[in-house]
Symmetry: C2
Subunit: 282 residues, 2 copies
């Protein structure tokens, strides 16, 4: 069985940067390292950090004196201020720099009196964080939601960095009917723009696609969706989910992995598939 | 035979305003009234003005001392300056106020370092006029042309006032991939936004559509195109083009007219169709 790995797969710039920042803090023996919300959307990566003594906290109240990381997806200025007001806490901002650009653009558009629209997932921390930078802004995830909007004089748009560009197209085309002026900051990041076509390309060549990454990872789910339009596709978090029956009659298997999937997970999956022929995977 | 007339049909605000301005000049006996290019894209309307002694001129050289009108579609600042430098000429600007907004937005975007794109017809005087307000601007008329563009940091867009909104959608959706920031002034005018759906609505109900207006009128051609997607459609300039065979078995005929089609032409067409049953039209 031939294995084709889409490039890029795995950690994007922002995810790698955030994990590196935490690893550095561990190496420097910073006191009581806590992360406010999952730093990236990958349970195995989170577990790996927890095994090194890092704590995940989900509310301001849980935070103890020590070191606190802001997740790669960013947070709203309001939550940032709440974290800052905590006593005896060193706050380290691991927000992805490309998410920062999205946040800053949302802020700028709001200050210039645009009705700010964040094209994104309604409950995604990145979209919610960006929303906090623009008063009265709304998150729009579908063409239908865009169509239902009332007309306003000026619409300003930013985009969740990991959305599928082609899906955003259709929403932008609707929004332009809703205002005399529309200003769009296309904040989809370069990693997303490269990863999705690369996955598509491998899906064209393969008989079966395995997409590796957190089930809670939006960008991984979209990779799986993009691939499933082309070839049979399975979205797994780890190698133990692989099923031998998927590979019957398959001569080429394609692999793609989300922006928050660590290399050790991808390697495990690749090795497990390699061992398929010799029955090492049940 | 029932006749259904789409509303609005005929003169839009900007066309009516420009013709009224010329009529006023005639009534005031202004000297040597000349129009630089066809004031509106309707040969019969032009003929009606010529019959009143108005002259059409197509080049700066032809202009004689007297009164000179700038057409409803507007002109570039460069041509405006050339006209202004003419001796013994009173220059009257009949540019449609909505075209002025398009021109001003093109200028503003250019001054703010956007690569200005005019979504419009390549050889249309309105698009060419607007182009003159933004240095280095380009006219884009199709999705393919948008797709072929190189990436630039900032794209600023204005739209020819009479384009079909749904066609512009698709171009905007392409353009947003070509820059990190895109700013769109949706300068399609209210008249266009109302006229096209009204024509579509009548086409749904009718067995046959007659679209009345200049063959050189872009907005009339688009009306005919929009209607022809729904029902058999004929684009005519005047009643003499009507053919009895078109109406065989037709019980409902729909009529729509372009923004530059004068009422007297529409009335002639309606009357000719009314007289169909009694064989008054050959």
């Amino acid at each position: 069985m031939e294995i084709l790995i889409a490039e890029p797969s795995g950690f994007c710039f922002g995810v790698k940067r955030s994990i590196d920042m935490v690893e550095k803090a561990i190496a420097e023996k910073k006191p009581n390292i806590q992360i406010f919300g999952p730093i990236v959307h990958n349970p195995q990566q989170i577990k790996a950090l927890e095994d090194k003594g890092v704590k995940m906290v989900n509310s301001i109240e849980e935070i103890q004196p020590g070191t606190v990381f802001i997740r790669a997806h960013g947070i709203s200025p309001k939550v940032f201020q709440q974290l800052k007001s905590k006593q005896e806490v060193e706050l380290i901002d691991a927000t992805c720099p490309f998410v920062k650009v999205e946040q800053e653009n949302a802020k700028k558009l709001s200050e210039e009196s645009y009705q700010v629209i964040i094209i994104g997932e309604k409950n995604h921390p990145e979209a919610l964080g960006a929303q906090g930078f623009a008063e009265g802004s709304i998150i729009i995830g579908t063409v239908e939601e865009a169509r239902a909007l009332k007309e306003v004089p000026k619409i300003g748009v930013v985009v969740q960095t990991t959305l599928e560009p082609e899906a955003v197209d259709k929403i932008v085309a609707e929004l332009y009917h809703k205002a005399k002026e529309i200003r769009v900051y296309n904040t989809i990041c370069q990693s997303t723009k490269m990863r999705q076509p690369a996955a598509r390309n491998i899906a064209e060549k393969a008989d079966l696609m395995i997409v590796v990454g957190g089930k809670n990872s939006g960008n991984t789910r979209r990779l799986a969706e993009v691939c499933s339009r082309i070839k049979p596709t399975h979205h797994i978090e780890t190698a133990v989910e692989l099923k031998k029956e998927w590979f019957k009659g398959v001569s080429k298997v394609g692999i793609s992995a989300g922006a928050s999937t660590p290399d050790f997970i991808i390697n495990e999956v690749v090795n497990a598939i390699k061992n398929m022929d010799s029955d090492h995977v049940k």
